[in-house]
Point group: D2
Chain length 295, copies 4
């Protein structure tokens, strides 16, 4: 593929993603705060650019894979000149988990300068990124979504389109993280009830993971919650809180309550109060066990 793809954000998700692009023959240009992170990519054919704006040129695609709204706004929003360098015809492919409202803001900014913005947040942990098994949700202008398809196909095992509203895919991504956290809370309460009745937590997790809930989320998080193994963190509790708060903000912007999201917010906040921000987000289950007098 002769496509130029700039890549900003070489964290534990972005690094394997950029690597796959480079290996697939895409002309990848990378920029990162610390250059050291890019070494393995350069070996595989990626080009290092010393200045952020160097990742972009007219008509190119630039992917951002960053940790939060603020980072994306700063590096790819009005504080950067990315949009004008991509014009005419370039595309900002925003793959971070950010709020729908930030996505809508960015879309306006890019359109106003003659470029496009496509939201394409992903489901999957770093292992999935490494295995090209991400699930990708997209939303944005039709033509731009078509142009990014070949790039996304290199990264994921499935692409789901949620329309033209640039915030659509972000809503769905947040909804998914909300469903996962909800499942963890439900399992934490169910397993604590079992434990208080003398039943082995793992036996219960196994039953449900093999039957009614024979799917990855219940199997993997079920094991973590049953065995109470919360370190090392696959996804930090502080980030779980951040995402649940983005859910609540989106719900507020949409004028609706989400009482289960409120409960999750409270649970994560207890985790923060007790100094668990670096544990895995499944450590919300510790609060359940403590309330049950099990700790």
């Amino acid at each position: 593929m002769n496509q130029v793809v700039g890549f900003i954000g070489l964290g534990n998700m972005g690094l394997p993603m950029a690597g796959h692009l480079a290996e697939a023959g895409v002309r990848v240009r990378v920029w990162n705060r610390s250059r050291a992170k890019a070494d393995s990519l350069i070996t595989r054919g990626a080009q290092w650019v010393p200045q952020l704006e160097g990742v972009a040129e007219a008509g190119a695609i630039v992917i951002t894979m960053l940790s939060n709204d603020q980072a994306v706004k700063q590096l790819a929003g009005t504080e950067s000149n990315l949009a004008s360098r991509l014009a005419p015809g370039g595309i900002h492919l925003s793959m971070s988990t950010i709020s729908p409202s930030t996505s809508r803001e960015l879309a306006k900014h890019y359109e106003g300068l003659g470029a496009s913005h496509v939201a394409a947040p992903v489901f999957g942990r770093p292992e999935a990124a490494a295995a090209r098994k991400l699930w990708i949700c997209i939303s944005g202008p039709k033509a731009a979504k078509e142009r990014v398809q070949p790039v996304l196909k290199i990264l994921g095992q499935g692409i789901f389109d949620f329309g033209e509203d640039p915030g659509g895919a972000n809503v769905v991504k947040l909804a998914g993280n909300f469903l996962i956290a909800s499942a963890m809370e439900a399992m934490a309460e169910a397993f604590a009830l079992a434990q208080k009745n003398g039943i082995d937590r793992s036996a219960v997790a196994d039953l449900f993971g093999q039957t009614l809930f024979a799917c990855p989320i219940y199997q993997n998080y079920g094991k973590a919650v049953a065995q109470e193994r919360y370190t090392p963190a696959g996804f930090k509790l502080s980030l779980g809180l951040k995402d649940v708060d983005l859910v609540l903000q989106s719900a507020a912007a949409s004028r609706m309550p989400m009482p289960l999201a409120s409960l999750l917010h409270d649970r994560f906040m207890t985790g923060m109060a007790k100094g668990r921000e670096e544990m895995d987000w499944s450590a919300l289950a510790l609060g359940v066990s403590e309330d049950a007098g099990l700790k």
Copy 2:
């Protein structure tokens, strides 16, 4: 199998179960409030007994598959003479969804009279009962659990043992129904958020049913909640409330809070307040949509 198995409770679960036993050559004796229900079973070799106590004899197994704790207590507890007719050596195989405390009471009663009690509640709707695809949880005395294995294997696709405490299997069964209701609440909130953002509910349900939550509960209830089809009821909202209340009672007996179960209780109670007791329990999602101003 030359085993005598009495069967009490020919509802939409019990009827297909008793039928499979009869077809498998078990000597099934059935009693039911209305005899008409038993006709199809008699054709298949089951024996009708005109008096409840006729289902039991020394050393036999008697299965109860009834709608609630009260019915089981009345027909198989101290108000009946089932236990003494099963003695010595008979087994009460209690397959209804009842509370752990009722199960523990029944176990004492049976033991005291020289018989045994095994709890064996099941997961699965009537279709699963008809297809012999039930998942069965058991708990109780070891020897008795071994003796009922051949009978249970006729009825289900998997048997999970939760120890000797007669209430153990009931705790797990309730925990399972709690997990299902929790998943429905989570999906209802997530889909309402999507809808408020102009995204098709079914598209979101499909995404999650194919990826993170590729398991029957999310696929089937996801479809119902996405399409808002709450009649006819597969499992009535009033029964959903009953089960969540059994969960909360068990949690109270175990001295622990279950805030997500409390939230579900409140949600089902709103459904009751609005006259939805005959709808499917997934109709709890209507309350979510109303709170969001979508109705």
Copy 3:
């Protein structure tokens, strides 16, 4: 007053109440599980009766002041012969905090036997009972309510009539305890927020007790929660849970959710899980502080 008034239940509420009646010249007959409790009353003119039924005679009034529904049902319900001894024309004056449904059951029982039942639960701690400062809610048949007025005026500083439904006064009493517990939860959260910001809990309690919430509940419980003094118990946490559960049962019987009552149930249950049943019910605030990482 020449009225015969039987009195059942000489706990820390009943004892001062019966004393006031005796001193006012009412012909008080007392029965209690242990006679020792009655000694001080006998000195003041009360008559000890060795058998429970001795407290009643045709046309008399019998007051019950007991710890829960079960005790009232047992000593004054169908398991006793109190109703028939009061007939014709006697009145059961039920002053305990019990459920509306128990009250309705008792009313039917008494009416069926030619006697009457009046619910008259009270607000006030033992100090208020001793000072004749109780607030009394009543409900039941008009004529009976009029007949008990002189007796109630000896005990309280105000009588509030809630109609003919025998359960009415009980609903209001439970609603009151719910309001108190809600105020405690609100103060506990508010004071913890202040404390986390370096502000003295008592300074906040003083402000509100002197201004917006210048009323006994906020002043007294405000002080307890601010100073975190939870022993000795004025009203045990286990009884607080009992009352909130009666609230939830009444709400369920009325088909409505009460999410704040559910939150209180969960909070008290955490207290039970941590072995705080003998502390004052204001110790629900400990759970708030723990979740905030303050303990």
Copy 4:
């Protein structure tokens, strides 16, 4: 009093407050978006200044009484030159309901430029402002707090000091609004339970307003919630939501959950979803009644 006091914000709170200052002989300088609002003040001796900065001079006091954090930041924060005009020795007296974090930011800004910032949010509706019956919470540097005392004494009936942290008084103000909203939710649930049992809502409100909760909040809001009179708004539901969200933000910044505040957020959000933003904030009770099937 020869003190110069600038006044920014002539809404339904600020207008009567500025009027009292003018009448007390303070040299009031007012600025407002629309001059018409100031006419009645000019009659009473206040001086109109055509430019915002005209309200301030070295050593003066400037009061802001505005609707939200953003307005205060814009008119009295880094976007204005108020701080430098007050230096040296002037004081910004911030009486709006804003977040502790905004207050802390402003304090830094003023200190950095040689002026002071005192937070002095108030409790009381416009009637209380008109009657000089406000309750005032203050926090900030000692000397500055002393200097503003004579001014505050003209406006309120009591001043409560919460220390040197500039955010302290704001935390307490938010805590107070949280207590009020909590009391409304509690009453709404209690009155709905009464109504479902055939009891008059107002009779219950009267009982509690005269006894356990004989204080203004329960008496006034109790009447509103009992009679279900939610227009005209004394304090809009949208502002109630704003304040509860400030509470939740402060709790988050303090790392603690406030589940009752979360419940209130959800309840107000349902009100927003149903188009009730212009109703009084006590209209949160409508959601309670709807969930109970009463509407």
